[in-house]
């Protein structure tokens, strides 16, 4: 449906206009503008998800929920893989991330790829926040259009 297309076009325009590199200090939580936008949207989206999903028992359930339900709701597909060290670090793998798919797959685009992941990192972080977890989310791309999101749950 065309709605998704509008979001993708808006996202691309936002990356073009708003992306700026952010120096991260050790423990600092400064989010780039794009991550901040994603965070707000992630928070709001998580609030709209079906009520029964909000009664989680474990951290792992929350991550599974993000990989299945949230990803399907937002990107119309499930995350392709989830790994964890069972100590608060999770790696979410998407073999064909929709916001990267329109980019060419040559190595020259690899440099640009992180810009297209910033919003979504914020989205995950914001959704986790609504679900009761503080986190740090980063992303990396090895081969377009596959990418990995690393989620580190902060212990309070």
């Amino acid at each position: 449906m065309a709605d998704t297309v509008l979001f993708e076009f808006l996202h691309t325009e936002m990356v073009k206009e708003l992306w700026a590199p952010v120096a991260r200090r050790g423990g600092g939580m400064s989010l780039s503008v794009l991550e901040g936008l994603g965070f707000r949207v992630g928070q709001a989206l998580a609030e709209r998800l079906p009520q029964e999903t909000l009664a989680f028992r474990e951290e792992l359930d929350v991550l599974k929920f993000l990989c299945r339900d949230l990803w399907v709701a937002v990107f119309r597909k499930q995350m392709d893989g989830l790994r964890t060290n069972h100590q608060g670090t999770y790696v979410l793998q998407d073999h064909s991330f929709p916001l990267l798919v329109p980019m060419g797959s040559g190595p020259q685009y690899l440099e640009e790829a992180p810009k297209f992941l910033a919003f979504t990192c914020g989205l995950l972080c914001g959704a986790l926040s609504t679900l009761g977890f503080q986190s740090q989310v980063t992303a990396s791309v090895a081969t377009l259009p596959a990418c990995k999101f690393q989620v580190v749950i902060q212990k309070s």
Binding site: M1, A2, D3, T4, V5, L6, F7, F9, L10, H11, T12, E13, M14, K16, E17, L18, V33, G36, L37, R40, V41, A44, L45, R48, L49, P50, R68, D69, V72, A73, V74, R76, K77, Q78, F119
Partner: protein
């Protein structure tokens, strides 16, 4: 689970909300970055223009619009096909002058402003949906039709409807028919 996740109606709504919420966050961010309403409006228009220049290709690929022979046909297509396709609404169209190059799209409902009750305090000149004007302008320009597109009325500013004015700047050469958004 009895139904596959992506068919649940809540998820469809969330997908629609994604664009509206992202747009809202963007406007809020621009209001932080720019003090003057005119600057936010201009920026939204500029971003919309960038989107429009690319969206028009997507539109033409998805729709089977025939060649247009008049500005009013073009505006009808914008209202009945493009708006319907991307925003799920069909604004009504009026022609505002006898030389038939000034038109209005009247929006009864504005999906972009679905979660907005009122403009933020101190932002009374903000054209919240100015992105849309830019999109229309950019799309038209990609098919060689220069136009001015602005909000003439805005429900968020207290008007009874939301009205987008489109003024074509050149006389359309009757012999040169162009496929249009």
């Amino acid at each position: 689970m009895s139904r596959p996740a992506h068919r649940r109606p809540e998820y469809h709504k969330i997908n629609k909300d994604l664009f509206v919420l992202t747009y809202g966050a963007l406007v809020a961010q621009l209001c932080k970055d720019y003090e003057k309403d005119e600057d936010v409006n201009k920026y939204l228009d500029k971003m919309g223009y960038g989107i429009g220049t690319r969206l028009v290709e997507d539109f033409l690929a998805r729709s089977c619009v025939r060649r247009c022979h008049s500005y009013s046909e073009i505006v009808d297509i914008i209202a009945q096909v493009a708006f319907k396709m991307y925003l799920g609404i069909t604004p009504s169209v009026t022609c505002n002058n006898s030389s038939r190059n000034e038109f209005s799209l009247i929006l009864d409902k504005n999906p972009l402003a679905e979660f907005v009750e009122a403009l933020p305090a101190g932002r009374s000149s903000l054209c919240y949906c100015n992105l849309v004007c830019g999109i229309i302008r950019g799309a038209l320009e990609m098919v060689n039709l220069a136009a001015d597109v602005t909000f003439l009325q805005d429900r968020l500013k207290g008007d009874s409807v939301t009205e987008i004015g489109i003024t074509f700047l050149k006389k359309l050469d009757e012999k040169k028919c162009r496929r249009k958004k």
